[in-house]
Symmetry: C2
């Protein structure tokens, strides 16, 4: 009852073959005769044999594990990403090692180091700054790496997958402008994060062009509660905007929390365009109009790129850019249509004029 550990040698003995044959049966590295194969499988099954990944990896150098590094495991956006990646990886026989950098450069560095110590066959990361993490510098040509979501603005030495963030901001702004909003507040998480800067730029550029004046931009951070407090603080000492664009799912939460606490209704007097699309956004009386990121496609693109690299693709880095779309619901008031006040009783959501279908588009 207390057999210490069953190895390939035990299986070989029981099946009456050499250990190499057993290895070949499991790794599929060399073909093996059908009935021998059956004998081996039977023996392995009876002994409840499992190949030891450490030994396997040590000898072969092949890890069948990929590291996944994200900035925050409490942010649904990132966990959705992890969830999708787990499914894709599992389909291809890979396990995933997840680590969170908690948006801290030092922690990112150390988490990367420990991930690399596993000698993974690949790495998918959402880095927490624009600079290439020091720990990855030496790995550039060696280890397949894909950056997702947060990609350096000036191109990267590794493969990247992200949405067109500038356009995402623009879509939000265009929607509000089309509905007659003139006093738009832009709520960002942090301008230190380049995709956020891009979203802000997209929104601000359009607003400036159309209205000839700069919208106000505020930073609410990456924590919903603290963000809500910050926004509350802002609301108390500034005139109420007619609409706010939240550029992140947690900023959306912060915005809604603060508005709720101030007992300010949506979409009248304040309209809101949120970011990302999660069940809670439609689980409310006035569903949230939001910019939808195609998370499944981001994950898929990242995985496909990583898989190609792991298979030996040596082409220069590619940068996939996916499209975000507008998910129109009821949180934006139509000021252009007419001056009627109060909650709209019109059950029809506004049609989506902007064309929201997400489709991949390879660049560079």
């Amino acid at each position: 009852m207390d057999n210490p550990r069953v190895t390939i040698r035990d299986v070989a003995a029981r099946a009456g073959v050499s250990i190499a044959t057993v290895s070949n049966v499991f790794s599929g590295n060399k073909p093996v005769n059908a009935d021998l194969r059956a004998r081996v499988l039977k023996a392995a099954d009876e002994l409840a044999y499992q190949v030891d990944r450490a030994a396997s990896q040590l000898r072969s150098g092949q890890a069948r594990v990929v590291g996944v590094l994200v900035p925050d495991l409490d942010d649904v956006f990132f966990t959705s990403l992890v969830s999708q990646l787990e499914v894709l990886a599992q389909k291809d026989g890979y396990d995933i090692l997840v680590a969170s950098s908690r948006d801290d450069l030092g922690l990112e560095q150390s988490r990367l180091r420990t991930l690399l110590a596993w000698r993974p066959s690949g790495l998918i990361a959402v880095p927490c700054s624009d600079a290439l993490p020091e720990a990855l510098r030496h790995e550039i040509g060696r280890l397949p790496i894909v950056f997702a979501d947060r990609v350096p603005p000036e191109g990267s030495v590794v493969d990247t997958v992200a949405i067109d963030n500038r356009e995402a901001g623009e879509i939000a702004a265009r929607h509000l402008l089309a509905k007659g909003h003139r006093d738009i507040l832009v709520a960002a998480s942090s301008l230190a994060i380049s995709p956020i800067r891009e979203r802000v730029r997209g929104a601000c550029d359009l607003i400036r062009t159309m209205l000839g004046r700069e919208p106000t931009v505020i930073e609410l951070g990456s924590n919903a509660d603290r963000g809500a407090a910050a926004f509350l603080h802002w609301l108390e000492r500034h005139p109420q905007p007619s609409a706010v664009i939240a550029l992140t799912n947690v900023t959306t939460l912060s915005t809604l929390s603060a508005l709720a606490r101030m007992r300010i209704d949506i979409p009248d007097p304040v309209s809101v365009v949120g970011f990302d699309d999660y069940p809670w956004m439609s689980a409310r009386k006035t569903g949230l109009t939001a910019i939808r990121q195609p998370i499944a496609e981001i994950a898929e693109a990242a995985w496909n790129r990583l898989r190609a690299r792991m298979a030996g693709d040596q082409a220069p880095p590619t940068h996939s850019v996916l499209q975000a779309g507008l998910q129109a619901r009821d949180s934006v008031r139509d000021l252009a249509a007419g001056p009627e006040r109060g909650n709209s009783h019109d059950p029809d959501p506004h049609p989506n004029l902007e064309g929201a279908a997400a489709s991949p588009k390879a660049v560079h």
Copy 2:
């Protein structure tokens, strides 16, 4: 520029010591003279040496990795758990290997097998059925295992950590009864899941005792959208209840979605007690009254148990039971206070009479 891999041997050569000494420096297994130690560290740093975990693990049998298995990586409850566990594990120098069973027994089996192939030093799992997964049967005395959240009702052969689910259901029911509600609907995810059955039992027992009749129980599944559709379907062909208890965070979402789509207001005419406590629950005009699970404490208890086991604790399995509490907000109407209708303009949430502080309580 293309050195293939730097091993302990290279470091030893450069530092002018034996490989055993280098190993001792890094593993801390045997003390080593201070200046030798410094030489080794310097050499290692210059070569950017990293110990190879596969080799290390193969020889020592020590993995410094723990497997984490959850039923659904898109459910915030589980990802919060993973997030907390990642922090705790990292603090103790462990990495985590995450896998999702997607609530499928077969997948759970296969995911467990691949986790076990890593020979992890421990395993934290939220199983998807009451039965001990077949893959774990052989590991019982060998591998430290902790089950969290979903624990078999009749005790378990492994350590478990969970909340008092019966009481959680009871608290929700008591709150509604105290507010004068008589027509209560219980929305569960799936009665196949034992903690859900317990919550249902807690709520139903109390309601039966107080009111002398059985409340209606419906199953909405573990997907928010499908659950919303199911509840909508139910609402269309049954009389409106005065209150609904949602026993899961996704059932809460389903419930709110369906009510929103029916344009039924909260808390009047329908009150809602939700489950779990997430930012989106307070990011609404009428904040959600909900049963709060102490996720951080669940994670901590699970990790502490696992750590003790990994350190060699051989005591019989323990079963920690934590307390859930009521987070009172504005989604429950007070029918007892008076017959006034319409949205309450009273900004004060009802005081929490039930005593919500969560505290660990060891059992068995």
